[in-house]
Amino acid sequence: MRDKAKLIDHLLKHFLFLNMSITVMITIAVVFFLGKESYGFFAEIPLVDFLFGKNWAPLLEPKSFGVLPLVCGTFIILIWSMLLAVPCGILVATFLNEFANNKVHAIIKPTLEILAGIPTVVYGYFALTWVTPFLKNLFPDLQMFNGISAAIVVAIMILPMVSSLCDDAFRSIPENLRSGAYALGATPFEVISRIVIPAAGSRVMAAIALAMSRAIGETMAVTLAAGATPKFGLDPTGSIQTMTAYIVQVSLGDVPADGIEYKTCFAVASLLFLITFTLNIFGSNVSPLKLKSKA
């Protein structure tokens, strides 16, 4: 009887371990398949031409494979959405933390998180049918497809993430730091700007890194609202194309499995993966590097 129980324990442990190891295999598979297809791409196109070329025209003759226009498109979305979402997110987090009582906090935080749960295709639709016409009233020069509308909805999408993570960060600051400052006669603004935000600084930076990673990887909203024109430049009022939107554009057409167009997707995705992976590591709370410094 005891031996049976011991055996089950042993088997269960190994069975569960096997399940867990799948997560490692997924990472290996991502790196392997992205690497394999990108390798095929870089066998034909030199890496330098890809990374520093200013003309992206893989679907038209004469073909050209400089990725910078796509990087510019992604960068436009990133910069404008961050400019909107980060200050607003920190202000909302401050409101939740310092000015809202528990009841208000318990209502507003989950309500804002609804924004994060709405599918991104809905945001694309919203950008296309509401934000762009609205902005067109103010700036008649705006094109039908433009970077700024897409950036605005991406900002709305990541705002709850920034405010939620910053709220947690502010909450983790010991209460006696705050009380001490208030006892010395500091105003709420001084307590927040000089005590809370500096003390929570590293976690706020981590939140920003995660938000950046989300903005860069965002796909459907920018595909629908930002257009499909790869451009080398930083003008947000016209049609642009991001790295993610390019991948969708290629998959919507019929692309032969061995063609160079198919492989470009993987080269672009590898770049995307490297950028977001770096940002995720930077924004990760469970980094072994951090565990070490705590111990």
């Binding site: 269960l12 997560t23 409101f95 309500t111 991104t120 639709y125 105003t187 796909t219």
Partner: protein, 283 residues
């Protein structure tokens, strides 16, 4: 009463914080009202029971709803057992060693990989390398890759919330580890795990980018009958309609979004009930 400049700055700051928060809530209202306004008149019984069509007035989401149900069911069947088992291992068995913290880091990184990268992985690995083609199974497995890390993270949280005193009491009665897990830890953490599972599956329903990549079709005039059939889902259909220039199709997309949001809303309500009514331990 005289207000000093410092207090004035602080007051302005407080008003700014409140205003921005209100503005964010206002945006949510505008979004929902706009979609209701656009899609409301296109909602009808025919819309739900018709297949997609070139003619806006005959178009419907029957195949998209069936596709969504197929994808959701298969994804749940694949990702929930894998995710919950992984979480149990990480919380109950894993030693406190360096490699385990790397696994945790890996999982939180996987949760942050853009969904479109999973789409390309699904295309290269499932659709082409394993020759599964543009099938429901390919789509479901791709979405499973995407939600697995999220399920592991939320299930881990739920298991961690069970107090150690319960485990220690069971061990003191002579229970083995598997008896402690199956008899005590799992029953206690099930509401929390279910909440996480439902929320991550509601992400699975809303995803469209990876499905577009692995080859979900936008025009499907039949209902998928097996796991090897082609398919479409609600978000894919919405994307297709929204990307057309005609006003009518934008109305249809709006109606599709209303249906999609209604499904998500229901799932979230259920998750909330689990969390509040059944959950004994605070996550």
């Amino acid at each position: 009463m005289k207000i000093s400049p410092r207090q004035f700055t602080s007051l302005v700051f407080k008003i700014l914080c409140s205003a921005i928060t209100l503005f964010a809530l206002l945006v949510l209202c505008i979004l929902i009202l706009h979609i209701l306004e656009q899609g409301w008149q296109w909602l009808s019984l025919n819309f739900v029971s018709n297949f997609p069509s070139r003619l806006p007035h005959k178009a419907g989401i029957k195949s998209a709803i069936y596709g969504t149900i197929w994808i959701l069911t298969l994804t749940a069947l694949i990702s929930i057992p894998l995710g919950v088992c992984s979480a149990i291992y990480l919380e109950e068995y894993a030693p406190k060693k360096k490699w385990v913290s790397w696994i945790h880091l890996n999982i939180s990184n996987l949760a942050g990989v853009p969904s479109i990268v999973y789409g390309l992985l699904g295309l290269a690995m499932f659709a082409r390398y394993l020759k599964m083609g543009q099938s429901v199974l390919t789509g479901a497995m791709t979405i499973s890759l995407l939600v697995l890390p999220i399920i592991i993270i939320s299930a881990s949280k739920a298991i961690r919330a069970v107090p150690d005193s319960i485990r220690e009491a069971a061990f003191a009665m002579g229970a083995r580890r598997w008896q402690v897990i199956l008899g005590q830890v799992l029953p206690a953490s099930i509401p929390g795990i279910l909440t996480g599972v439902i929320l991550s599956n509601s992400r699975a329903i809303g995803e469209s980018a990876p499905l577009l990549i692995v080859g979900a079709l936008s025009y499907v005039a039949f209902v998928p009958e097996s796991i090897s059939d082609p398919f479409t889902t609600l978000p894919v259909q919405i994307f297709n309609w929204a990307s057309r220039p005609q006003e009518e199709f934008h109305g249809l997309a709006g109606a599709g979004i209303i249906v999609l949001l209604a499904i998500l809303f229901l799932m979230n309500i259920v998750a909330m009930i689990f969390r509040q009514k059944l959950g004994k331990y605070k996550l």
